[in-house]
Amino acid sequence: MISAFFAIVRRDLILAVRLRAEAVNPVFFFILVVTLFPLGIGAETKLLQTMATGIIWVSALRAAMLSLDSLFRSDFDDGSLEQLLLSPHPLTILVFAKIIAHWLVTGLPLLIVAPLLAVFLGLPQQALGTLLITLVLVTPVLSLIGSIGVALTVGLRRGGMILSLLVLPLYVPVLIFASNAVAMAGNGYAVDAQINILIAILLLSVVLAPLPAAAALKMSMS
């Protein structure tokens, strides 16, 4: 079971390296959307500073949404998903492996880019550490919760819009706690409560999300 888990992670990472162009798209999208905000609302430093956390988090959410489609799509199209389902190993574990690989490919780059963009938007220095911590905690949650939505819609030809409708409402809690933590840290307040809640949400989604995702994949296969 362990070897199957790592075989899937390894395979998906190799695929991501071979398909680099596709893998970096969400990051470019993220940078682009964040860049559009100053153009849209004006480059007034004070205004950007107050909106910085919101801009970064909403853009990160959209970038994560955009990257979700690649989670099961190609496996569904080329029949690899059938083989995954027929494996004697528990599907939940294999799905979890795919989510981990997906996070390594799409979540990690956001961790590197987001603080950089935060500086461009004038986010206070003291909030950067909190931004990084919340990104570490939240990006896996985005992949985990998102996996349920993709698993439900992978069999649909035009699942993209429905995917957003299914997943974005479920992203509300992490959006609230994460952006609140960053904003509070910027004002110099302690943010232990928000961080603890985010840790709880992360643990909860690690335990719970792969189950419905696996069940939904089985449904999509039929």
Binding site: I148, L152, T153, G155, L156, R158, G159, I162, L165, L166, L168, P169, L170, V172, P173, I176, F177, N180, I201, L208, P212, A215, A216, M219, S220, S222
Partner: protein, 253 residues
């Protein structure tokens, strides 16, 4: 089903057998309708005429007789839907699958009514149609959850797969609703401060409360009527090839 006592399990399977459900529904519906009309009539009369005028809000508070029961129903129906979804996923009971998808539009309607009445009430209260109040925001997200279920069901062609899909989604949603609700409340207290708290009155006069409860029960009956009616139609659609539907149609014509 070993952990459910045999008589209960037998009862459920008998209740859930399509022909039995169909006959029972036909017998129940007229009675339910009568009870609903009586309750609604009394609730509206008591709420709009008998209940005293509020000393702060005047008569505009009377919208709670629609708003509050609708808001209660919006959550209640989601829980019913998720429960039916769990039953359908675990025991593969067709009727539970039908209940899930028939609940969604009813729940979405109540959520919509709660939003609209909340916003109508907001105008005299806050002087604006929309305020990012915690309850209204939660209600709005709940509406999105319902819409997600409805559109996912519509998008999947095979209706059996679609039922499984929305059951899974409803269960995911029901786990998330408390978290969403709590997070929105947290967000609200930080951003809005106490300005909107006058909406939740700490105590309510008994003469105002009784019509409210009557209306809430009336709404429950309405839900039951709408659900059974929709389930009946959906059941006929899905079972059109089965023997009992054919026999029934022959005997009716």
């Amino acid at each position: 089903m070993s952990f459910v006592p045999a008589p209960i399990s037998r009862f459920f399977h008998r209740m859930a057998s399509p022909p039995h459900f169909y006959c029972l529904t036909n017998k129940l519906l007229p009675w339910l309708t009568v009870i609903f009309i009586l309750l609604l009539g009394y609730g509206l009369y008591a709420g709009l005429y008998l209940a005293p005028t509020d000393y702060q809000q005047g008569d505009s508070y009377r919208i709670i007789y629609v708003h509050v029961p609708a808001a209660w129903m919006s959550l209640f129906i989601y829980v019913v839907m998720a429960t039916a979804g769990a039953i359908g996923l675990i025991w593969r009971i067709k009727l539970a699958d039908i209940m899930v998808i028939c609940s969604a539009p009813i729940g979405a309607s109540f959520t919509f009514i709660a939003l609209v009445t909340g916003s109508l009430w907001g105008k005299p209260m806050w002087g604006t149609w929309w305020v990012w109040d915690a309850r209204l925001t939660s209600e709005l997200i709940l509406l999105f959850l319902y819409l997600g279920i409805i559109s996912l069901y519509g998008a999947i062609e095979d209706k059996r797969s679609a039922s499984r899909a929305v059951s899974i989604l409803a269960l995911v949603g029901v786990v998330n609703i408390p978290i969403i609700h709590y997070s929105v409340e947290w967000w609200n207290t930080l951003h809005q401060g106490p300005t909107v708290t006058k909406i939740d009155k700490p105590s309510i006069h008994i003469d105002m409360l009784i019509p409210l409860l009557v209306m809430a029960i009336a709404f429950k009956f309405y839900h039951l009527i709408a659900l059974l009616q929709a389930a009946k139609v959906e059941l006929l659609k899905r079972e059109q090839n089965s023997q009992w539907v054919k026999t029934m149609l022959e005997s009716e014509t």
